[in-house]
Symmetry: C2
Subunit: 334 residues, 2 copies
Amino acid sequence: MQVSEIDEFKLINRLSNLVKSNSSKIELGIGDDGAVINNQNDQQTIITTDMLIEGTHFLKDKVSPFQLGYKSLAVNISDIVAMGGRPTYLTISLGLPKSTTVKYIEDIYNGINNLAQEYKISVIGGDTTSSPNDLIININLLGEVPKGEYISRSNAQVGDSILVTGNLGASKAGLEILLSANYQKLKEEYPYLINKHLEPQPRLSEMQLVKKQFNITSMNDISDGLASELHEITSASKVGALIYEEMIPISHSTKELAQNLNKSTLDYALFGGEDYELLFTTPASQSQKVKEKIETELDTQISIIGEITTLDKGINLIKEDGKVKVKKQGYNHF
Amino acid sequence: MQVSEIDEFKLINRLSNLVKSNSSKIELGIGDDGAVINNQNDQQTIITTDMLIEGTHFLKDKVSPFQLGYKSLAVNISDIVAMGGRPTYLTISLGLPKSTTVKYIEDIYNGINNLAQEYKISVIGGDTTSSPNDLIININLLGEVPKGEYISRSNAQVGDSILVTGNLGASKAGLEILLSANYQKLKEEYPYLINKHLEPQPRLSEMQLVKKQFNITSMNDISDGLASELHEITSASKVGALIYEEMIPISHSTKELAQNLNKSTLDYALFGGEDYELLFTTPASQSQKVKEKIETELDTQISIIGEITTLDKGINLIKEDGKVKVKKQGYNHF
C-alpha cells in the first residue's frame, strides 16, 4: 500500500500504535495538538533537533528504512549525551514522497522505536506530510539533566587531557563503501564499517559513568569530524590543543579500506565525521583513571589523544614526520 | 550570496545574531549541541512540531521568505494555544537548496523572529542542512501551562455550546487566489484573504481570556477545516454535534471571491483549512458571556455555531434547505 492510498488519520493511528511510552510523566501523548509532560523540579530540559534529507544525508537504495529511523534518532541522542543529559521525549516530522509505502514508514518508526526503547525515550508526537521529491526525517529530542550539571564545550582548561571514546574514521569508511562501485563486495567484507555508518551507538553509558566520578570540563559528540569538533571546543573555551597522530584511535578495518581505496586514513579520522563518538577533556591528573574506569566497567576503548594548550598556540597535530596546524575543515553540508 | 558560498558556521552565526532571547531561564542557548532551560516547578511543558515543504505547503514564487518564516511559526503557536498553553521556546530545522541565498534564509529567520518577539518566544537552536530539491522548514515549539490546566479535545459535554473565533474559509479563499491565473489582479482586490492565508494570527490572547474566566471543556485550532476539527473533538469526547449553516462566520470577501470563482463558500468554511481560528466548547449557560467578554475586551468576533449532542447523533449541519451529515473530510496531505 502506498502512502497516497491511506487516510492521514489512519496512518497516524497506525504509527502511534508502533510506539510505546516509557514514562508515567506523560500527561497527554500522541493524539492531540501537542503533548504534555510533568517536569521534575530539579531537572533542566535539553532540546536538540536534526534533519535528514534523501540525497543529502542518505541514499534510499543503500539504507533500510529501519536503519534510517535508527540513525535519525541516534544522531539526536548523541547530541543530548554530549551535553551530559539523559534523552527523554521525541517528536518526529516526516516528509514523504507519494510513492512511499506504509510498510516503509512503519519500518522507519520501528527503527526509531527500537532505539527509543533501548534508551528509555518516549515518542510523544510528530507531523507527517507529503513531500514532492525527497524523503525527509526531522527528529526533535528533549533530554533532562540535574540542575547545573550539564556539560558544555566551553570550559576546557590549559593542561587538560583530550580523550575520545571508540575509534574514528570508521563511519567515513562505511560511507565510502556505500558510494563505491564495488559496493556489494566491500559491504560483505567490512560489515563493521557499514554498521558504524548506518547504526552508530550513542555513548550514553560512557558519558554517565565519567560524569559521575570525574570532572569533565568540556564535551562534544563527533558529528562533523575530530578537527571540527576540536575547533568548536577550543574556540568556545578560548584555548588551543595539541594532538598526536599516533594516539588517534583508528580501527584495523578503517586502515585497510583506506589503503585499498588509496585514501588517507588520517583524513578519515580528522575530517570524516558521523562517528558519534565522544570527544571530551578532563584534568590531566584524572585522564588515566577515566580511561581505566570506562575500559574496565564498560569495555569501551578510551584514547588520550592530546592536551589543551594556550589559545595562541592554535590546534596542532604532531605527525610522525613533523608538526602541522589542524584545519577547521569538517563536513560542510553546502 | 548563495548558501553554497558561505561557511556553515558563519551562516549559523549570522542566523543566531538575528534572533533574541526572551527569557532569563535559558542557561545555554544557540551555539552548543543543545539548549538548557530551567524549568519552573509548577509548569508543564507542551511540545508541538510542524513541517512545511515547498510544493506541498507553499509555492516559493507566491510567498515571501518573511511570510514563510512567519507562517511556519504561526501554525505551531496555534497548536500550543489550542492546548491552553503559552509558547516558550523553539528550534528551527531548515533544508535548503544550494541556490538559496543567505538573504532569503535571513528573511525566513526575520519572519520567525518577528512573530517570536510578539509572542515572547525564544529561538534556542536548530539545524540547517542542504536539500537537493525543495525548501523545507520544520519548527519544533515548546510551551508551558500551569500543572493540570491544559485544554484537551476530549472533554466536550452533551449540551455544551460550540464556538469559533474570527471567521472561516478566508485562508482557503486566499489560497485560491495564489493558485489562480488571475493572481495579480485578485491579490490587489482581496488583500485580507491573502493575509489570512499567509500571515494567520494565532489566538493566544483570546484563549487566555476565556480560559481565565470560563470553563472551556475542549479546544482545537482549525488547521484542517471546521469539519475535520469538529470530528476530532467529538471523536475524542465521545459525543455528537449539531451546527447551523447560518451561524458559521464567513467574511464578506470570502463570499464574494467564492461567488466569483463559482465555488461553494460553505465548502471553504467546512473543509478549507488553515484558518488557525479556535474551535472550542463551553457549557451553554456560559456561551453568551464568553462571546461578550472577548468581543468587548479584545474586539475579536466570536460565533456560537451549535451545540454538543449525544454520540449516536453524529455530526449534523442544519442547512437553510435541510439537515445533512457532516463528512470528516479535511485537507489530506497525501
